[in-house]
Amino acid sequence: MNQPLLQTVGLKKYYKVKAGELHAVDNINLSIQESQTLGVVGESGCGKTTLGRTILRLVPATSGQILFRGENILEYSGKQMHEMRRNMQIVFQDPYSSINPRMTVYNIIAEPIRSSGTRLEKQNMDKRVRKLMDTVGLASRLIKAYPHELDGGRRQRIGVARALALNPKFIVCDEPVSSLDVSIQAQILNLLMDLQDEYGLTYMFITHDLSVVKHISDNIAVMYLGECVEHGPKDQIFANPLHPYSQALLSAIPVPSLAARSRKPYLIKGEVSSPINPKPGCRFAPRCPHVKPICTQGELELKEVTPNHFVRCTLYGSEKP
């Protein structure tokens, strides 16, 4: 396989909290090929946002490596990182809180270009902003509008235009459609996929909506309490989820069809463990129906069960392919 555009090696982000060390992101090894989408799923608080922000160096990593085209950006100087930032952008969940309400659409989109140090003459800046607005499907008559005059879908289009302003290679999309109505959500998902086709963008797409993640991703990583418990090609994850948590997660999706009505979800009981000073072994053990003593006796490794399909669970053999 080609060199991935982005790769993390043993990436960790721990927070010091009163009760100890909170393992928000714990030993994550992932890679994303150019022009592909990695979907990251998992329940609230499992570390999805922290992972995305750590990769972009918006929060400092505790340890590990972040390789962009093979270079560890954690070793970059401030100046190098400033250059690098052009390549790596983010689209946030709440399009309202992530943009300055006192700026016009024009200034919101022009701002990343200005702060990157690029000097554009007024005329060229105008052209660039209009082009970006056109790309994301915002009518140019809105160029002087303020965000509060726009609906959620249009605000999210501004968020996307901003992220595209510096021609990035890689975009972290952190729940970009979660706060939108389904009809608007579909419009934005189509936009993101069209942009990927046109500009060869690489996405890390964070969401808790599994139908969305299946639609948009090439590969999927399932997180549980800071760890990646399973990752692989999306069709394999959906057709043959291996980790008991992934199985529960997939069976719990309410599917809007008559056929799905008779299907009973596989319900998980038991308490969620704390990410603070986690106990050794599988973090899903307290809720897992298959738990055995070895599950909690030592650190578990990600095993490659079929090509490119990895799982962290004692139910699966350790033979290397």
Partner: protein, 330 residues
Amino acid sequence: MDNHMLLELKDLEVVYQTDFENVYALNKVTLSLNAGETLGLVGETGAGKTTTALSILKLLPKNIGKITGGSIMFDGVDIVKATEGEMRKIRGNKISMIFQDPMTSLNPVIPVGEQIAESLELHNTQGRTAAEIEQRVDQMLELVGISPNRKTDFPHQFSGGMKQRVVIAIALACDPALLIADEPTTALDVTIQAQVLAMMGELKEKLNTSLILITHDLGIVAQICDKVAVMYAGEIIESGTMEDVFSRIENHPYTVGLFGSIPNLEVSTLRLAPINGLMPDPTDLPKGCKFHPRCPKCMDICKTESPRVYETGTHQIMCHLFTQEGNVIQ
């Protein structure tokens, strides 16, 4: 099992009158619900789902929200005419509501058991003694899958899903005939949502409670509802049994758009087929069919005349495509 008609809304109209404008939130909403039935009320933001619920409980914001037409009959009582005193006897006793964002309806400084007891004391029509109330609290906690020995815990000691169960326990404590749940699982993770939905399904079987489940998620409706009503711009544009709506043989163009907007887990599609445009401004609703500016099937008549309701059996669709002669889709 007894399944008489419990609730009937006919041509209900609600307007929010503010200093600047009139928001036409409900425009002739008609729906009915039998005892023991679950109705899914679906629609996107601003469709009028919460307003429908608040009207049934007569809890529209004072001086702003007004019922301007139509009727609401609940168990023989004319809600529109009922006095505040009569409504107090109905609320929390015969009709319970779980509000959108239910976490805020728990008091953070009172143990959860006490909060359930409080609701029982407030509506103590059966004249329960203190010991009986205590017993009922334990019973309700068990019913929602929480061990009664946790009744002295405070809300912050519970997970999101457990708090949600406590809210449901409070709503069900008085054995209401009707439970209205406004987006009860939106804030929950899917695994927890599945638990809460399974539990609501069980309760319906055990207690024969009628349920109005307000949601924007067609998947949830498919899982637990018997009937569906789809709202758009303050109107019910399609309603029927689960089979009527989800067999997808005949649907309102808006419902078709809703289905097309959700990525399908069973069949891969390259592109979603979303509905273009936005919901109309409720202070300035379009003439004719309120969906016409976004409708891919819009005809001339749609721009000027409100469509009548097309009925086949239990299935109702408000759209000119179906009522126009020679235009009926096969």
